[in-house]
Each structure stands twice: as C-alpha cells, then as structure tokens.
C-alpha cells in the first residue's frame, strides 16, 4: 500500500502542471497563515498614510500603494486570508450538506430521493452566481453572509455528483456483499460506497474551490462581500476602478492574485483527476 502511494505521489510530482498547481495552492495557504509575519508592512491593514497614496511599485512598496496609502502587497496577503477562509468554509458546508443528500438519494429509490434531487435541480435552474447575489443582497454584506450565499448556491453540485456516482456503484458486487453480510444502510453508505466515490468528489472539490474564489471575488467586486475595510481581492479591484489608467498596479496585482490562485486549484484538480481516476489516466491516453 505504501509503495503504491509513493508511486502515485511521484507521478503527481513529475507532472509539471499538477506540481505547479499544488505549489500555488501551498503558497496561498502559507500566505494566508503567515500574513502578519511575511507581509512587508502588516500595520498598513489598519493604518492610513494618505501622504503616500497611489504610489507606483517601488522597493519599499513592491506592488505600489492603494487609495489610503497602504501597501498593496501587504493588503493582498491579508486578502489571501479572507479568500481562503470564505472559500474553505463555503465549500466545506456545501460538501457537508450536498454529499449526504446525494448519497441518500442515490442509495434509496422512492419519492424522497426524487424530491431531494428535484430540489437540487431547482437550485441549479438559475446560474450559481445569480443565486449567490440574490442571497447575499438580502442578507447584507458580511463575511458570514458571503459564506452562506456561496454554500447555498453550491451544495446542489455535490448532491448531484454524489447521487450519480452512488447510482453507478450501487449495484456493484461489493455493495451487494456488504448488504448480504448484514451491514446497516448507513454503514454501507459511509464505509463501502463513500470511499469508492471519493475520487470524483475530491477532484470536484479542487475545481470547485477555483469557481468559488471567482464567485467570491465577484461578490466582493459588487460590494456584496466582506465589509469595506476588510482586505479582499474583488473589493480592491472595485476600489481601483476610479484610479485608472494612472494607478494600473492597483487593478492589476489583485487580479493576478485571483488568476494564479484559481489556476492553481484548477491545475491541482486536473492533476488529481489523472491520478485518482484510472479510467482517464493521461498516460493511458497517450499510448492509445
């Protein structure tokens, strides 16, 4: 088992795209955790230096300064915290709500299953970000409400995926034998089905993180995200809008941060798919 794990890890690291994705995600996590330590001017999150406002990039302020004279790089590092917190919790809630619903609906047949999936479909009948905007607009701008609106608009994706995957393994021999051995239904679902459908769920989670970061940025950009003083990438880009074309750095760097982080999660997801899903392993496709 450990030897197998080792080759999987080696293959993952050998693939440049997956390695790049994993590195970007790791860098984001480190930035978020270590923001107060590694940010060049951590005090700029609270303090204003209006004399220093809208300064172009320099050695002192590598990414320039914003409209309050705060160091943009420092604010972006704290922004990584905001983004990661929002998205991890939102995706977490969506998984915790969506996966059990999909599992139960997929395992049993009957009107309850039908109902659950119909409800999921209704949530999917409007583009996700539109629903998130409607919810966060009603609840008002705060980090909790952003998390809630993203989770509420995202759970059906996991429900539908878990449902389809459960349906496809439900009639496999290993499920039948577990039932024949007298396992209770929750036990079959949690210990026999869930591990076998985990791969697509994990892949989807990584790509879902990317989508959620983009959606969270849109909410921030529209002023529906975190409250005004919170460092958040989408909101920073919105603030920067009125200072174009002079303060090009103010728009450009937060946008690049979003770009690299979303790409990181997408590449990681693609890489995980290659490893975890043997049906479409890239090596096999190459030989064909």
């Amino acid at each position: 088992m450990s030897a197998h794990r080792f080759t999987v890890l080696r293959r993952f690291l050998r693939d440049r795209a997956s390695f790049l994705g994993a590195s970007i995600v790791l860098a984001l996590v480190l930035c978020a955790i270590l923001a107060p330590v590694i940010a060049p001017h951590p005090d700029d999150i609270h303090d204003f230096h209006t004399a220093n406002r809208l300064k172009p990039p320099s050695w002192y302020n590598p990414f320039g300064t914003d409209r309050m004279g705060s160091d943009l790089l420092s604010r972006m590092m704290f922004g990584a915290r905001t983004t990661l917190t929002i998205c991890v919790i939102a995706v977490g809630i969506a998984c915790i709500v969506g996966i059990p619903i999909g599992l139960v609906a997929g395992y049993y047949r009957g009107w309850v299953s039908e109902m659950l999936m119909r409800i999921a479909e209704i949530f999917l009948s409007v583009p996700q970000i539109v629903l998130a905007i409607a919810i966060s607009q009603t609840l008002g701008p705060s980090i909790e409400n952003v998390v809630l609106s993203l989770a509420a608009s995202f759970w059906p994706f996991w429900a539908r995926l878990a449902y389809a995957e459960t349906r496809s393994v439900k009639n496999e021999v290993f499920v039948e034998s577990a039932v024949a051995l007298g396992c209770s239904a929750p036990r079959v679902m949690l210990l026999h089905i869930l591990p076998n459908i985990a791969s697509p769920l994990i892949v989807r989670t990584s790509i879902g993180m990317g989508v959620t970061i983009l959606n969270a940025a849109v909410l921030g950009f529209l002023g529906l995200g975190a409250p005004p003083t919170t460092p958040e990438w989408g909101r920073m880009i919105n603030e920067a809008r009125e200072f174009l074309p002079e303060a090009w750095w103010y728009v450009t760097f937060p946008g690049l941060a979003i770009f690299f982080v979303v790409m990181g999660f997408n590449l990681l997801g693609d890489g995980l798919r290659d490893i975890l899903d043997p049906r479409i392993r890239r090596g096999a496709a190459r030989r064909g």
Binding site: A17, I122, I129, I133, L214, V218, F260
Partner: protein, 335 residues
C-alpha cells in the same frame, strides 16, 4: 415520434422547475431576519406608519397566502415595481433584454467559432507545441475574473491605445430601434457610421465574455475528439482511404460535438448570462446585468428578485432549446 415525446416531456418539466425557482426566490426574500417594511418605510417612520405599510403591501398575511398572490402576479407577467424607478420591473427588463442578447449572442458566436476549431486542432496534434499553447491558454481563460479582464482590456485598448471606446453601446445618435439590436438596426438604416461605432463598442465586452466560454469549449471539444479519434469507425474510415480532413471535420467532429452541445446551455448560463452582470457593469452596457447591479446598489429589492427569476427563466429556456437541438443531432438519444 420519440423525438416529439422528448420535447414534450422537457416542456412538461418547464412548469414545475419554474414554480420551484419562484418558490426558492420567494423564500429567500421572505424568510430573512431583516424586516423589509422597516427598510422601505425608512428610519423616521412611526409604528403606525409601519403597520399601515405592512397591510398595504400585504406583508401581514400568512406566508402561503403571500406566496400564492405573488405567484398569481408572476404568472400574469408582473414582477412588481422597481422601488427606484417606480416602473414595472418587467418593462425595464424587456427594454434591456436586446442589449444583453446582442452581447451574449456575439460572445457565444465568437466562442464557438474560435473554441471548437482550436479544440479539434489541439486534439489532432496532441502533445505538439501547438497543443501545449492551446491548453495553457484554455486553462488560463477559465481562471480569469471577467471583471478584471474587462478592466485590463479597457486600460490597454481604450485608455492607452484609444482603439475602442471606453464604455456604452454607441456614440452619437443611435439608429432607429427596430429590433433593439444596435448592429441590425444600423444595417437596416444603412448607417455605416453607426454600424462602425456599434461594432467598436461591442468588441471589448464580447471579447471579455467569450474568453472563458471559448476556453471551456476548447477543453470539451478536445476531450470529445480524443475520445472519438481512437474509435473503430475512425480506424475503418482510415483503412478505406478517406482523406484525413474529411474524417476529422465531418465524422469525428460530429460525434464529438454531441457531448459539447449539451454543455452550450450551461456555458451560456454560466459564462454569458452570469458574466453579463459584471461585464455590463464595467462597460456600462445597458442590459439586464447592469439593471441587476443598479438594483443591488440602490437596495432595490424587487429589482433583484425580478432579475433572478428572469435570469432563471432565460437559463431554463436555453437549456430546453439545447435539449431539443441535442435530440436532433444525436440520433442515439431517440433510440
């Protein structure tokens, strides 16, 4: 016959889905801690005034009763009045729909005409430098925040190079609104100047919306072609001496596209309809996305709810059309 049955069953689904969507939006807007009456009445209102307003708006009745009367109004095409402009929301949305459609249709056309061929070429020359470039670009295209791309394009093409206008739909007087589509109206008038201006205004927003959609199409087409290209019928066609071009662009593409077509509805909804919200904001494009954002900024509650239902309706209809088209190009679905 089977095909008609499929179309009918899809049409039958249309009603419950729409009902569900309205119920969902209704519950979002009614089961919330904040009291809408207090917000509408303002800070100065007395308790009596608030109660009077509550009765007037029908918000003192039980929830299910409110829902039924809401449903009845929506069924008659009444989404309420905009709290800001004091005009019916449906009227506002209808007036703005052509602008969004013009942008959306041109973005989808651009995305399909660039994305599909690139996906095919990328699959045929798999692992070539060209394939690598296409894949890097398509992975990047999906990671860009569209409002940021819109602003960067403005910065480069409008502010620095002055090739395109910064925002809006047209400079000077618009042509007589016959179809609502600026380009078609300009063509009908034979007004070259207006056409030129309309196309210039359309360029950047279209590009912004088309990029992620094209990126997604490249990925789907590439995967679809790779799946088909190794199948036996392609091997047979090769053995029979069919020219490679015919095999790829006629037979492989058709088989590969069936999977892609089912995604075009999703692409339209996710990248074009939802993307329009931010892209129209940045480019000040007078469509329904800008209407939604203005409603957000003015806390126009009815406006948001109306837009959400409207967007859901468009999304459902587009998916319906896609399903029907899919049943025509994929004969397997009928059997």
């Amino acid at each position: 016959m089977k095909r008609i049955a499929i179309v009918l069953s899809r049409l039958l689904w249309f009603v419950p889905t729409l009902l569900g969507l309205i119920a969902l939006v209704f519950s979002i807007s009614h089961i919330i801690p904040a009291d809408p009456v207090r917000i509408i009445a303002g800070d100065q209102a007395t308790a009596e005034q608030i109660d009077a307003l509550r009765t007037k708006l029908g918000l003192d009745r039980p929830l299910w009763e409110q829902f039924l009367s809401y449903l009845a109004r929506v069924a008659q095409g009444d989404l309420g009045m905009s709290l800001f402009s004091q005009r019916p929301i449906v009227e506002d949305l209808m007036a703005r729909l052509p602008a969004t459609l013009e942008l959306g249709v041109s973005a989808v056309l651009l995305a399909v005409s660039v994305g599909v061929p690139l996906g095919v070429v990328s699959a045929v020359y798999r692992n070539s430098p060209l394939d690598h470039v296409v894949r890097v670009v398509s992975v990047s295209g999906l990671a860009i925040a569209s409002f940021w791309l819109a602003m960067e394009l403005q910065l480069l093409f409008s502010m620095k190079l002055a090739w395109t206008p910064l925002s809006g739909r047209i400079a000077g007087f618009p042509p007589e609104p016959r179809s609502g589509f600026m380009i078609i109206d300009a063509l009908m008038d034979g007004d070259r100047e207006a056409l030129d201006s309309a196309l210039r205004h359309l360029a950047l927003p279209t590009l912004t919306l088309a990029l992620p959609a094209a990126a997604q199409l490249v990925r789907l087409t590439r995967a679809g072609v790779l799946e088909v290209i190794n199948s036996n019928h392609v091997l047979y066609q090769r053995a029979m001496g069919f020219p490679g071009r015919v095999i790829i662009w006629k037979y492989v593409l058709r088989a590969a596209m069936t999977a892609t077509v089912t995604q075009i509805g999703l692409i339209f909804g996710v990248y074009v309809l939802a993307g329009a919200i931010v892209v129209e904001t940045v480019f000040d494009w007078p469509g329904i996305g800008l209407f939604a954002v203005n409603s957000i900024l003015r806390s126009d509650y009815n406006g948001i709810v109306g837009f959400t239902i409207w967007a859901g309706l468009i999304f459902i209809v587009v998916n319906l059309v896609v399903d029907v088209v899919h049943s025509f190009i994929d004969p397997r679905i009928v059997r």
